[in-house]
Each structure stands twice: as C-alpha cells, then as structure tokens.
Symmetry: C2
C-alpha cells in the first residue's frame, strides 16, 4: 500500500503549512506522517468496499491477500497514525484528523444519487467529494499550521485553503477518469461511469442536454453504449468541470492572501497550480 | 453495536485503576470512553471477518446492513475513540491504545494452528488471546493509572494486572463456549469448534487423549461427530482450563499487592472474582 507510490501531497501541504508559521521539522513531521498513514488506511478500506483490483496499477491488498487482511491492515494503519499523533505537539491535531476520518466514513456511505436537477446534483457531488478528499486536505493544512504555532485565524484560513485544494484535486481526478488514457490511470477510462458513480463531468453533460440517454448508461454493461456516453461527456461535460476546478483553485489561493509572501506560500501556490495543470 | 449491551468491564477497570491514584472523573472519563469505543469498533470488524450473524443475541452490523456499512461504522468508532483520547490528559494514553489496536490486528491474522504438541499449542493460544483480549484490558488499566497520576512502576503493575485479567476473561469465554447453554451464549454451544477455532479446552482434551478423533472434528460438518467431540471436551478439557484460569487470576491479583487496601482495589478484586465465577 505504502510502496505503490503516490505524490505524498498531503504530507507536503502539512509541512508547507507549518512553514508559514514557526517551523520546526520535529513538530510538523508527526502530523505529516499521520496524514499519509490515514490516507493509506482509508484507501485500503475504500478499495475493499469498491472491490477494486488495482490502484495506481498495483494490485490492492484485499486482491493480493483477502478481505480480512485488508480490513486489519487498514485498522493497523489507523492505529499507527494515532500513535504518530500522540507524538505531535497539540491535541487539536488529533481532533482535526479524527473528525476528518469520521467525515470520510460518512461520505463513503453517501453516494451521489442524482445527476439532475443541476442544483441537487451539485449539492450531493460537493458533499461527496468534500468528505472523500477535501476534509483530509483541510485537516492536513490545519495540523501543519497548528504545529507551526499559528493563530486560530491562520489555522482556519489554511483549513479553507486545504478544503478548496482538495475539492479541486478531486474534480480534476474525476475529469481525468474520462480524459486520461488507460496507462496513466492504471484503469480503463470511464471507470466511474461503469461503476455507476455520478461525477461532475457527467452532471454537466446531462445539464448540456441528452441527459436521458446518459442516465440510462449509468450501470450499463453495453460497451458500445458506454463508449458513446464517454464521448458525449468528453464533448460537453469536461470544459465546464475544468472551469469549476479553476474557480475552486482561485478560491483556495485567496485564503493565502493573509500571509506575507514567502517560499512556503509560493510552494503552496505551486501545488495548487500542479493540481489544476494535471490535465488542463 | 453500542446498545446491544455488554458489561462495560473495560471502562470499569479504567476508572477503578484511576481511583488507585489521584482520581478525577473528568481526567479518567475520556480514556474509559475511548476503550469501550475501541472495543465496539474492533467487535464490528471482527464480526465482519467472521461472518457472525449475531452478537449477544443481537443481529450484527454487517448482517443488518452490509459489509461496507460495518467497515465504515468500525472506522468511525475508531476515529471517535481517537477524538476522545485527544481530550485525555496524557499522550501516553494514546500510545497505549494505539499499540493495543495494532496488537489486536496482528492477532486477528494469527490463528492457533495446532492443538498439539501441548507446549506449541499453549504458546500459540496464549499469543492469540493475549492479542485478542488481554492487550486492551492492559491498556485500559494503564490508561486509568496514567490519568490517576501514577508512577511508571504503578502503571506497569496495573498493566500486568489488566493483561492477566484479560487472559483469564478470554479463557473463561472459551470455556463458556463449550459449557454454556445456547440462550445465555446467544449462539449454539461449541461454536468455536464448529468454526475450526482451537481454544484451551480443546487443547487440554487432546492432551488428555483421543486427540486424533478430536482433530478430525475441527471444521467437520457432521452434527453427531461434533456433539461427541463436545462431550469429550466437556469431560476432559474443561477442568484443566478452569484451573489455568484460576492460576492466571491469582497472578493478576498479585500485581495489586503493591497498592494499599482501598475500595477501588477491592472492587478490582471483585471484578477478578466475577470474571472467574462466571462459570466456575
């Protein structure tokens, strides 16, 4: 699970958030380690629920061993994260991460139910990706700023930056699922659609018209129908989703305005640019 | 999960351990709450792995909803426990509990493989029930004594008391699985045997003779063979297992010798007596 790669984005934003304040590696390191362990635990259980065979092209824990092993490996990683947090300097950090995990659990059980009407679909989608991705990004930034001795106002601002960064990250992930090639994704394009998962490009494509045909394809097993739907979503759903990701990233960056210019602030901006440029 | 009952033994020994020191309810309460939440989380995942339909006669989470719900409910309860621990006064408490959970996970994946030779079987059985039950009892006592401001020597002594109490508790549980009636157990007698789980009464019955016939029954589906094996274990495996439980409880009580007599010490002794008298 840990060796299959990943960008360690959550650890990076934890350490950079601490650098906006009074940075000591020793203080921020435990929080940065904890967030990656929580992420790995969460992915292990997520893959188990989804029955995913591979992640980043590497065979998943439950597929390589069995369900019991994946369940216990996830629990073990959560406990390891708690142990790391006991070494962190501030109990608030534990509170941020424990609440984030509770949100992740709630989100896992709250699918997006409708692709239309737009307002309802967006509300469900935003709640879903907020719980799935944004709350842990937010907790990472708050933990870093807390380790860096920030004020409550600074911690809250970093929390909002992290939340919006996570939202944009997930929107781009959901875009890449439609436009990426199989080799980069480590899975076939349109996997979300095939699994009946409603994401932003689908919601916007439905809004752009032809919604009934798209709705019929969710959960379909017909390869020709699915490919037609993917083409339609690529044609009408990707651009508005990209525009939304840009708006969310701009909102994320606005939360950094209160901090004076510094290398750490610039690097957080670089990460925001990377998140959006992965496909735009 | 939480409303299906249970004796809250782990919370009780946490609070009583704190009362051996400088007791403040507010300080000990979070640790006592955390240990019950960890226990509930662990049982939820344990039932999921075992495919258990009922616990204490109440339908289990995964049987009532589904696997994904049971997985997320367990994770949620672990996170809730971490949140409680962030309110506890001492990071050592988080370390005790996180290490206990890691042991529980390791134990879950380490079954008792053999019922003979005796020495190997006992070694595997003691490691198994140590991880399954004793480490959390031990962590509960250490957390309570830590919240009560105990010295390291006092914390270690309580940890050993809790460990042995948990060992005796599990031995008695494993005895009750053979001698209890279905109504009290909430499941048929001999469930462990039916599932191929090797416990102390079986190990001692094999040692007493007729081991080959008993070994053949583990994992058997033949009801007559199983009932015959249960009768044999009742006849030759229960008494030595009860004697072992008594030895372990005496060892547990010896760790309380360093504490002056007090109502809390007496109540910990009462709990030890209850654990052993549940069936002896």
């Amino acid at each position: 699970m840990l060796s299959s790669g990943g960008k360690r984005l959550r650890a990076a934003i934890t350490l950079l958030s601490a650098q906006l304040g009074d940075y000591t590696l020793e203080k921020a390191l435990h929080a940065a380690t904890a967030v990656e362990l929580i992420h790995a635990a969460s992915l292990t259980h997520d893959d188990l629920i989804d029955g995913a065979e591979r992640r980043r092209g590497v065979v998943t824990v439950h597929a390589h061993w069995d369900h019991g092993v994946a369940l216990m490996v996830g629990d073990y990683l959560f406990a390891l994260a708690a142990g790391e947090m006991s070494l962190a300097p501030d109990p608030r950090i534990i509170t941020y991460f424990s609440q984030a995990v509770m949100h992740i659990c709630e989100g896992e059980l709250s699918p997006v139910m409708v692709a239309t009407p737009l307002e309802t679909a967006l509300e469900q989608y935003n709640a879903k990706i907020g719980a799935k991705t944004a709350v842990l990004f937010s907790a990472a930034c708050k933990a870093g700023m807390t380790a860096g001795g920030g004020t409550q106002e600074q911690i809250d601002a970093l929390g909002q930056f992290g939340y919006d960064l996570g939202m944009a990250f997930q929107i781009v992930d959901d875009i890449l699922d439609f436009v990426g090639d199989e080799q980069t994704l480590g899975k076939p394009a349109g996997s979300d659609l095939r699994q009946g998962t409603i994401t932003l490009p689908l919601i916007y494509a439905v809004e752009a018209g032809g919604g009934e045909r798209l709705a019929a394809v969710v959960d379909s097993q017909d390869e020709a129908e699915i490919n037609q739907a993917i083409a339609q979503i690529r044609a009408s759903g990707i651009k508005p989703a990209q525009a939304e990701a840009r708006r969310v990233i701009d909102r994320a960056l606005s939360h950094l305005d209160m901090f004076p210019d510094s290398p750490a602030r610039q690097q957080l901006g670089d990460i925001a640019a990377f998140v959006i440029e992965r496909n735009l």
